[in-house]
Symmetry: C2
Subunit: 412 residues, 2 copies
Amino acid sequence: MISLADLKARIEQGALSPEAAIGQSLEAIGALEKTIGAFVRHDGKARAQAAGPLRGIAVGIKDIIDTADFPTEMGAAIYRAHQPRADAPVVMALKQAGATIIGKTTTTAFAANDPTATLNPHNHAHTPGGSSSGSAAAVAAGMIPLALGTQTGGSVIRPASFCGVAAIKPSYRLLPTVGVKCFSWTLDTVGLFGAGVRDVALGLAAMTRRPELVVPSSVAAPRIGVVTQAFAGAPEPSGAEALQKAARAAEQAGATVRELAMPEIIAEAWRIHPVVQEFEAHQSFAWEYGQHYDAMPPLLRGRLDESKGGTPAEYDAAMDVTLRARQALAAILGEVDVLLTLSAPAAAPEGLSSTGDPRYNRLWTLMGVPCVNVPTLIAEGGLPVGVTAIAGFGGDAKALAAASFVEAALAK
Amino acid sequence: MISLADLKARIEQGALSPEAAIGQSLEAIGALEKTIGAFVRHDGKARAQAAGPLRGIAVGIKDIIDTADFPTEMGAAIYRAHQPRADAPVVMALKQAGATIIGKTTTTAFAANDPTATLNPHNHAHTPGGSSSGSAAAVAAGMIPLALGTQTGGSVIRPASFCGVAAIKPSYRLLPTVGVKCFSWTLDTVGLFGAGVRDVALGLAAMTRRPELVVPSSVAAPRIGVVTQAFAGAPEPSGAEALQKAARAAEQAGATVRELAMPEIIAEAWRIHPVVQEFEAHQSFAWEYGQHYDAMPPLLRGRLDESKGGTPAEYDAAMDVTLRARQALAAILGEVDVLLTLSAPAAAPEGLSSTGDPRYNRLWTLMGVPCVNVPTLIAEGGLPVGVTAIAGFGGDAKALAAASFVEAALAK
């Protein structure tokens, strides 16, 4: 993989030109893209910018995020060749920081379930996960050092876990979702993929002009609460093993680690996530579902068919649970620095028909709290499994620092 | 003006065909639009739908809201002839309720300050207010029974006050802002204009499938807290008179009315509204401001120039004030049913160079609470002045009922 931190240091030292850094990505795309299929399209003539903290950094943008220089097709026939007028604010933030938008990465249709043909770089017989399939796979394959994705259920953290890359789903609205195809306005969150935790931290810090997000060279041992999310069902062996391994490594490196039970309201929030998501999705996709029913991606259409009867009263009740669960979670996060939980039930499933199960991710999306995937182990078939570090709302720096601590502990 | 409630009743009784109702609007547009200039474009061949609670209701859509059947030009040269692919969810909600989208109404450029040529129907030498200029003017002129606008500072309530129409800025995100050009994602709110309070209530109830928003035939006398917003400066005589008149009328009709002092955190929230607005606007308009600086509307560009130095730390502090003020306001709204305050400092100013001052509106937009404008008096020059009824977050039905009570009290 290409480390953003490493690239940035070499560029700043003058050991590498921004143009050569972009060239390295173009070369890797030339060699690997045909096999992996992580891009919808890319700019083979992309050039580096001369200035900015991300000069020389090639970034892939999930194809539900508007770009003025590339069509934005949403992975869906309805938007074939659709050309937005403007760049989304997150794209402009990257450009203003000096990055080069090198192309658009594949997405499941409308960032829902209908899969892309993208392969998992670690094992081509397996899915890279979704919905941000191309962004995770492009970073994992070593084609680019940074990519943007989005998460409504588990669409950033799960593919990061399956592809063995670091990723952050920041606090809700730390990055604007303006110009990003909406699934659920309460849930949709823009996230970043990179080789390691320090890499995504540098990307997020540059995009938001928040230097405090950069992981310091030395990180104090955090107080960690391990959450198994029993309400979401038991994981498979490789998922369970990853959580145990990460917790043990952190403890051996000096962290305080204990298992935390979650109150019933948190389990309730996990249960009602789909109520919020589907009620809003019926409004967000009203035009597509109402006017282009036959052309709708079949898995998403089926979900909308099933959830047609959702009422405002059910939605209001779910939003009430959400608010109470956020308060309960804030109280819990007063006792520990971060939570550590599963990123996925197991390694990536075989085949491309499913992008895997977001059941360990969706609660945290609904809570709006920052989540960082830390690659943890390699399971059978060479497939990675990660864990998630979680801080309280607005505690993105804390989540990144703790994730970096766990990452370093695992490397020992 | 055309009353939605009246039209709807006659259509449901079979006394008026939906087609004839749409024809009435087309005729009025034919007669008045040339003078008022409330529409960017309209469909002279618009037809009624056969079913739905809003069948026969012609609706104007502010031209920053995406429509698949009309270009959406944002009142700005940069978006001339821009044709969105999809209808915004609020447009689809109207269509699904049976309404007819009759055209796009004028907006100040990007819903900021640069004015349109739209005239105030009550006095052509005066502004109709903004940014939802055309929506307020089209309803006030009797061209259409319902229109959509948006508010980030005072862009729904202020033009409603200036044009003598009812309007609601609902609770934050009761109506999705998906497909609406973003100014500030924390503030932007879609609102409705109609002839009277019961009219906008019927429109909002149909759009949201929430029958509880319909104002009942008999409304209990509310407990009203009058708020003068001294922190925003003193009003001019016509504004002060409107607030006094509405309060007195409500009291005489049986309401409990008392003046309420606001705690310092509320005044502080009023002060920091522009910090939130401009920090987010720099991101929302990053593409336009960064790539089309010369074509930017000059007043908005000037605001962005001035607020260029805004930092994440200032924004975080402002968001912290916002949260604390929302909690304080929720406590205050436990003591009374609604607040009553100024909709504008006075009647509409003369000329078209300014759309007026949103200083009495912006706090409530930041608080996310439902606001309803009630036309209250006619000042010098035949110009209307309104007042605003405000309930707690999610109390849209309460705000509408109380506004209807005040409206009826004023009619006595």
